[in-house]
């Protein structure tokens, strides 16, 4: 008894001495992440600042004419409409593929899979997430491109559809793991109550679990969108690098057109610009646009999720 007391009392003093240090470490780490985010914004704005007043915003957003290295005697032109379309199109199409796939996989893993299958699937999906994005780019370029040419009989295999499929496959693991967590967080009592009332297993999912896990599922989808918007390497290799805006957005053939994304433009052109010249600063303006899109997505999803939470309460 006395021995135990001595041991425990020694323990107490050690923790007391270390505690302020550990508390500081956590405090500073937490603040540092906020500081890093602010620093990123500050850096990008600082690099783009000198040109922000000179940018022709109408031309930037609505004209598809990005010629930073014009022919002799011509003025450079920075119309990014083609690339904005490319990023938007890839995000929309890849989410069309990734969201149903990801949510279904999450539902299956959470509700219908036996424990062994569940474990295996979770490991496989983590593996999908670990594939480096440039490998996905290779897959799009070297495997899916020729496959598409053969199966669909088209001329060029790298296009919007190719890039969207690749990005969707990259976003799926993210959507699955977060959705699965959200579904698992729903108390079993909900499921048991619904089953007791006579609901079928599928009815339990879409009438009870979906509404209950709505905010988590939305968060998962928003993160997937964020992934799609920001993906660079895979998109660069699989999209065809052509600034095209189709005439008719309801014609499904637009899926087979080549596109170019904002991220690919920065990646391909940044290494070759002279530090400080107009082209360099315009690429940072594109960076601002990308950052703003991410911020807007996050803010909107926060508002939607809060709205959902309030409604539930």
């Amino acid at each position: 008894m006395a021995y135990k007391k001595k041991l425990l009392s020694g323990l107490g003093t050690k923790i007391d001495r270390a505690e302020p240090f550990i508390r500081s470490l956590i405090y500073v780490s937490g603040w540092s992440s906020i500081i890093f985010v602010i620093a990123i914004f500050f850096f990008i704005f600082k690099e783009a600042a000198p040109i922000l007043t000179k940018v022709d915003w109408g031309s930037f957003f609505f004209e598809n004419r990005w010629i930073p290295n014009p022919a002799e005697g011509n003025e450079p032109s920075y119309g990014a409409a083609g690339m904005l379309y490319g990023t938007l199109a890839i995000t929309v199409v890849s989410m069309f593929i990734a969201m149903p796939l990801g949510l279904s996989a999450a539902i299956y893993i959470s509700e219908f899979a036996s424990p062994k299958v569940k474990e295996t699937l979770k490991i496989l999906i983590e593996f999908l997430a670990a594939v480096p994005s440039i490998i996905w780019g290779f897959i799009g370029l070297v495997i899916m491109g020729p496959l598409m040419q053969k199966v669909l009989g088209i001329e060029v295999g790298v296009n919007l559809l190719n890039a969207s499929i690749v990005v969707a496959l990259m976003a799926v693991p993210l959507i699955v793991s977060i959705s699965e967590d959200a579904l698992r967080a729903v108390p079993d009592s909900y499921r048991e109550a619904a089953l007791a009332l006579g609901a079928s297993r599928w009815e339990v999912v879409y009438r009870v679990l979906f509404p209950a896990a709505k905010s988590g599922l939305l968060a998962a989808c928003m993160l997937g969108v964020g992934r799609a918007v920001g993906e660079t390497m895979a998109v660069w290799m699989a999209s065809g690098s052509t600034e095209n805006i189709p005439d008719n957005i309801f014609n499904p053939a637009l899926l087979l057109e080549r596109v170019k994304a904002l991220t690919a433009t920065i990646a391909s052109e940044m290494p070759d610009t002279a530090h400080g010249d107009d082209h360099y600063r315009m690429l940072f303006v594109i960076g601002i646009v990308l950052l703003s899109i991410s911020v807007v997505i996050n803010v909107v999803s926060d508002i939607v999720i809060k709205g959902v939470k309030n409604k539930n309460q």
Binding site: P20, F21, R23, S24, L25, Y27, V28, W31, S32, N64, R65, W66, I67, P68, N69, P70, A71, E72, G73, N74, G82, G145, P146, Q149, E155, V156, G157, W236, M237, G240, S241, T242, E243, N244, R258, K260, S268, E269, P271, D272, T273, A274, H275, D277
Partner: protein, 291 residues
Amino acid sequence: MKNYITNLSLAGILGLVFTSCGGNDDEAADSISVNGSDTMLQVGLAWAEAYKTVKPDIPVSVNGEGSGTGIKALINGTVQIAHSSRAIKDSESASIKEKWGKDPVAHVVGFDGIAVFVHPDNPVKKISLPQLKAVWGEGGTIENWKDLGGTDAKITRGGRSNSSGTYAFYKKTVLGKDADGKGIEFKQDTSSMPGSTAVVELCMTTASAMGYSGMSYKTDEVAWLAVSKEDGAEAYEPSIENVSAGNYPIARPLYIYTVGEPEGIVKEYIDWVKTGGQDALQKEGFVPLAK
């Protein structure tokens, strides 16, 4: 109060740690750093490899991030040699003069023809410069292979990124100027492939493709067009003989740029490239300097 002091000092220490990261590595005085043209990357690596037998204790490291990037690195002082497949721009020259007080010096180390690659099954075998202008330049009217004597298929154009030296040279030489003397840009839906190899691969896999890239990137699985200066004139393929004799119309010198006249180990390397390195240049598919 105790917490506040601990927080502040910890933040201070972390701040010092982060700011001490980075900084410049001093270049070893007995090695050579090269960066520049993607077109010249393979031959640059071949030269570095071959130079090991000439001067084994002077390593040469080569990167090929683009003519513009190489010259930028020269301006920043991170390399001693920049490979370039285009002439240096006035603005770049001015930057070098401003930063280093010396003018950049160009050394011609070989010649390159820009080949127009097509799919090997393509029946079209030759094309003229005015036709190329109409295919690639804005306002040009040729969109279909049948206008060039081929099958009825839309031409899939594979171009280079707008910061590439090859892009700049092709625009200047093939697109040139229009009737009012204004420079012609590429058609808006021209793709910007990520490198010379990507252009060749496009032409290997797509039957209706046409792409431009350095002649040294030819493989057995792709074909190239013979180019004539005018419609109806004699067309020449971008072979070493034709480029050397000045018959191939889309030919350019390959440059090495240095800040001021080179000295010491850099001078020795460049002198070797112009003499002993020409074998490697020819083996890579480029046109050597006249003997």
